[in-house]
């Protein structure tokens, strides 16, 4: 608590005539500097760790992407942009990038649009208990490890004895039965579908939290004005959760370009490279073909894409932030 004496201290400059020489050092500045230095001491370990384990490897990766490396002998040779030129002419790289784009587009549809609609429906329910139960039910898949989910869906997609083909058979849709992960035309979509099942509930939960922050009076007013559920969704809920929508969208897209686990578990990029994504193609280049310079170039592409999206996220959030 400030004492009465502190309130009568004259502001700096008002008690000092011009030409009195340099201003005396203020005790407060000295204290501030000490605090700043002590603050730096506290954050220094974290900064050092980030520098050593995040930023330094990042810089090294750029260097490696312009080198050809023999991991057995340790020899590294500068090759300029050769790895990037090869990347540009590699059809599997473009297929992987296309698959990542598919991942992003479908994730936006399911994990942003449908998740928002579902969250609005849940939060519109009268029973608080039912709302809590449904939020938990939809969130539950997100709590399961991706590897476990991948294995689970591998069984679901089994061509013979798999749950999906069994359901199609039961519904009389025999012709639609597939070797879902064995068919180059359906493999990546089978993986994306699994990913949506897994991530859908998490986005729904985030939207539900955002919707809970909207004053209920606005909904009551809209209802009194004759707005139906659809009108309330698009004219009230959607604008009011715009900030959360932006964040979820950017996070979803960034995640879509870093996908790895589920593809490795379910198809390892096959069959015939049809389900490769940038992460798995990087892995194959580095850890199977020993082409680490090329793998580093792919890593640079992933980093560039996700950094651009991260910057968009920061800009978007700062513009939309409510004071």
């Amino acid at each position: 608590m400030a004492s009465a004496e502190l309130t009568v201290v004259s502001p700096p400059g008002t008690t000092r005539a011009a030409g009195d020489g340099p201003p005396p050092r203020r005790p407060r500045r000295s204290g501030g500097a000490r605090r700043r230095w002590s603050g730096l001491v506290w954050v220094a370990p974290a900064l050092l760790a980030m520098g050593a384990f995040v930023y330094y490897p990042l810089l090294l990766n750029f260097r490696y992407s312009v080198q050809k490396t023999n991991i057995f002998t340790g020899q590294q040779r500068f090759v300029g942009l050769d790895n990037y030129i090869r990347l540009a002419g590699d059809p599997i790289f473009w297929r992987a990038l296309t698959n990542n784009v598919w991942y992003a587009v479908l994730s936006i549809v399911f994990q942003v649009f449908f998740a928002l609609v579902l969250a609005a429906l849940i939060e519109d329910m009268r029973s608080p208990r039912m709302r809590a139960v449904l939020r938990s039910v939809y969130f539950l898949p997100s709590a399961i490890s991706l590897t476990v989910t991948g294995l689970l869906f591998t069984f679901i997609y089994q061509p013979s004895g798999g749950l999906l083909n069994g359901l199609l058979d039961g519904a009389g849709l025999d012709a639609a039965q597939q070797s879902w992960l064995g068919n180059p035309h359906t493999a990546i979509f089978g993986i994306i579908a699994m990913s949506q099942w897994q991530g859908f509930g998490y986005s729904t939960l985030l939207f539900a939290v955002a919707i809970q922050r909207i004053p209920r009076e606005l909904y009551e007013s809209a209802t009194l004005d004759g707005a139906g559920p659809a009108r309330r969704l698009f004219s009230l809920t959607v604008p009011m959760v715009r900030e959360m929508t932006g964040v979820v969208m950017i996070v979803t897209i960034s995640g879509a370009f870093q996908v790895f686990n589920e593809v490795m578990v379910m198809t390892a990029g096959g069959p015939n490279n049809s389900s490769q994504v940038l992460g798995t193609w990087l892995y194959e280049a580095g850890f199977i073909r020993n082409d680490f310079g090329y793998a580093a170039a792919i890593a640079t592409v992933i980093f560039t894409v996700t950094t651009v999206l991260a910057v968009l996220q920061i800009v978007h959030t700062s513009r939309r932030r409510v004071a």
Binding site: I71, F78, P159, N183, T267, N272, L282
Partner: protein, 441 residues
């Protein structure tokens, strides 16, 4: 985890591997892996580090070996790491790049092992297990040969693995079919079995390599051996022989006429198909002999039906070596930078002595390359038959995914997956293999 942190973490993993490569120069190991001192004079003190790919159900053998070796030599500590098959493939690259290879490490035969030897990270063991040495004389010659290059032996075989078609005797008998002697006979057997309502052959290719094992054998039948040797080495490869496309066509016929999974096989798990043979739900399965015990466990239906084995039949008039057999030993290499290389070699001698040759079969069912390792007490009749047959093979054809350069192996793996699903033709596959081989040069 935060999005950016995920990216950084991924880049970090890659960088950890590369950071070990040193900085822009010649920080690597010497190319010449000459013997380090006298390997016969063993100092039984200190540590010997060992890494295997036998984690899980196959870990018991090396655990016992480590314990027994320490008991026999109280001054020695065996630092044993056991990884899964895939985990090993990832880890060994990191260990090599960071120059942290254990003293003794696993390797498949073929190009996979040669890349270690060629780059000076595998010790020349010719003085110990080369041709004419007492240690080599205890082993099947083909097993030692698989780890020999240009007269120098650099690996110690640990198990003897070969691929056989196993068949259910009752299902064959019910369908009135005989063990085929050529590819046409196999296909007609499949037709007869299918007509009887039996799944002729179980096949799952989710991992890609099961189909590659067929192609390994069929290439060996359809392409002359000299041509194969030339083409599997990227420096001299052309892949111009018409036999390569023929072998792919042969495989497609087997796939279409014998298997139930057919064009959907890429989505089918190999191991569940293997189990279906043990449950007598399929009449045939193409399998490695070291899987026999797992495939037909005691009390299984296939065991009561009776089962036997034969080699994948060769096409009539094939231009290659029809006496060849797909298979290769798994083995271990020694790091030239081991602190006590003689101790590392001695550990491998211990693991492959006559007594432990029996123990590997008793504990994990693997046939040892050491002669006399299989007995009536520790192995099935089928396993002993397979080893007898293996010893008659004119040549061991090493797995296609380890005998050649990784780029070529990957082109084969993905190309054959496309062939299975019906999206690529044999000509397309060979075109991509040629392109990969050119790149590997």
């Amino acid at each position: 985890m935060n999005t950016r942190l995920k990216v950084f973490a991924g880049l970090g993993a890659l960088t950890v591997v590369l950071a070990g490569c040193g900085s822009g120069g010649n920080a690597g190991q010497a190319q010449d892996a000459a013997p380090s001192g006298d390997l016969a004079k063993v100092d039984y003190t200190g540590d010997v580090s060992v890494i295997t790919k036998y984690a899980g159900e196959n870990s018991a053998f090396f655990q016992k070996m480590a314990t027994d070796y320490e008991a026999a030599h109280p001054g020695v500590h065996v630092k044993l790491q056991q990884e899964s098959d895939q985990g090993y493939k990832d880890k060994i690259k990191t260990l090599v790049a960071s120059q942290s290879l254990p003293d003794v490490y696993f390797s498949w035969a073929g190009n996979y092992a040669e890349q270690f030897y060629d780059n000076g990270v595998a010790l020349d063991l010719s003085s110990q297990i080369g041709a004419g040495t007492p240690w080599a004389s205890t082993m099947a010659p083909s097993a030692v040969q698989a780890f020999t290059k240009e007269g120098k032996t650099y690996g110690v075989p640990i198990s003897l693995d070969a691929k056989y078609m196993v068949y259910n005797k009752k299902l064959f008998s019910d369908a009135g079919v005989q063990v085929p002697t050529d590819l046409a006979g196999l296909l007609s057997d499949c037709d007869a079995l299918k007509a009887k309502g039996t799944t002729a052959m179980a096949f799952g290719n989710k991992d890609g390599w099961p189909a590659i094992h067929y192609i390994t054998q069929l290439n060996s039948y359809e392409v002359p051996a000299d041509t194969l040797d030339k083409d599997y080495s990227p420096a001299t490869a052309t892949f111009d022989d018409p036999g390569y496309e023929k072998s792919l066509t042969d495989f497609k016929q087997i796939l279409d006429r014998c298997t139930k999974s057919g064009s959907g096989a890429n989505g089918v798990d190999y191991y569940s198909e293997r189990d279906s043979f043990g449950q007598s739900k399929a009449a045939m399965f193409y399998v490695e002999n070291l899987e026999f015990a797992t495939m037909v466990p005691k009390g299984s239906k296939a065991e009561s039906d009776g089962w036997g084995l034969f080699r994948l039949p060769a096409p009539t008039g094939a231009a290659g070596d029809t006496g060849s057999l797909t298979g290769a030993p798994d083995g271990f290499l020694v790091n030239p930078k081991a602190k006590n290389p003689a101790l590392a070699v001695d550990f491998l001698k211990f693991v492959t002595n006559a007594d432990n040759a029996k123990v590997i079969t008793e504990t994990i069912g693997y046939p040892s390359p050491v002669q006399g390792g299989l007995t009536e007490q520790n192995s099935s009749l089928q396993l002993r038959d397979s080893i007898d047959d293996l010893n008659k093979a004119s040549r061991l054809s090493i797995w296609l995914d380890t005998v050649t350069a990784p780029e070529v192996a990957q082109a084969y793996l993905s190309g054959v997956e496309g062939l299975v699903s019906g999206d690529t033709s044999p000509t397309d596959v060979i075109s991509s293999v040629k392109a990969a081989s050119k790149q590997a040069q």
